[in-house]
Symmetry: C2
Subunit: 186 residues, 2 copies
């Protein structure tokens, strides 16, 4: 690890995030966010979800653009594969959450990242969702994430980066701990 005159820049505005802590300490109600999506059934197992607005910092917010996401089952389930499966979206959520965290923590620790790549795999016994065996759960039996990181830091510091990202990750928390979900018909 060498120290040069070039400041570490991973593209994360850590000053802003630290400033936000001060602001939210004074106005904790601004920390209450509501994230949203809508989902429209298309046909068969195919649906299209839209993400555009959310609530936070005390007011309605909008993403720069509205984005849509198709989900479907694959052809081996006799579906049309018009999108990735819902459970693959869970993997995208987890990998992207941990990866954003790695960048933010690296910035905060003055570690220059060069590349960060994750592979993620979730094991599932589909006898659960097919209702064949009540001892088999519907969801993942386990999820494994493996990082390959090139950074100006020692292997131990890189491991510590990933561990800290995990500790602060929203999606890691959602998956590893129970979250209350209510489903209603209007």
């Amino acid at each position: 690890m060498t120290t040069t005159g070039t400041p570490v820049d991973n593209g994360v505005n850590v000053e802003f995030l630290l400033g936000a802590r001060g602001m939210l300490a004074d106005a904790p109600e601004a920390a209450n966010f509501k994230w949203r999506a809508t989902c429209e059934w298309q046909n068969g197992t195919h649906s299209r979800s839209t993400v555009e607005g959310f609530f936070g910092l005390g007011e309605e917010q909008k993403h720069r653009t509205s984005r849509t996401f198709d989900a479907d089952h694959p052809e081996v389930f006799a579906s049309e594969d018009n999108g990735v499966t819902p459970v693959e979206y869970v993997l995208v959520a987890l990998a992207s959450c941990l990866t954003a965290g790695v960048a933010a923590v690296a910035q905060n620790r003055d570690i220059q990242l060069h590349s960060v790549a994750a592979t993620i795999e979730g094991g599932m016994d589909v006898r659960g969702i097919l209702g064949m065996d009540s001892d088999v759960r519907n969801g993942y039996s386990d999820i494994k994430v493996t990082y390959k990181i090139d950074a100006d830091a020692s292997p131990d510091d890189i491991k510590a980066l990933v561990a800290q990202s995990q500790k602060r990750s929203a999606v890691y928390d959602i998956i590893t701990n129970p979250t209350n979900v209510s489903v209603e018909v209007a």
Copy 2:
């Protein structure tokens, strides 16, 4: 509810799914699936995930096409909003899983669907991810899904449809129950 000569068609091949149960009862190892994604850090909190292959029915499988998903933080977090947030992908996963289930259960129960729309909202106190208060969790405090369904069925039958979809949903299980996640550095 009227009975006509037109067979119910929600586009779901229920015969195949029922047949799969028989096949997997004889060859339970074919039920072991591995769903996968890769994720590449771009810059800042922006990452791009790719979903293409998975393992199931005893062999490597591929989606019809490779698909990529950008994730980022919004501009109110001083990020560039190059994609939806990881936690919004969780909402897409849950809404699309429940919606596919509604279509499959409706087909199995001979209920013709005309439209299925869900709104989903997850509440989050962002003081958790900012590490401001260890009593505040990182993930969602609660998630609420609301369905509006037009189908040839009574309100009670429609509620029962949604309840059965919830019961068999992989993503509902992943979110409401703890799932083991391991994160490693290669």
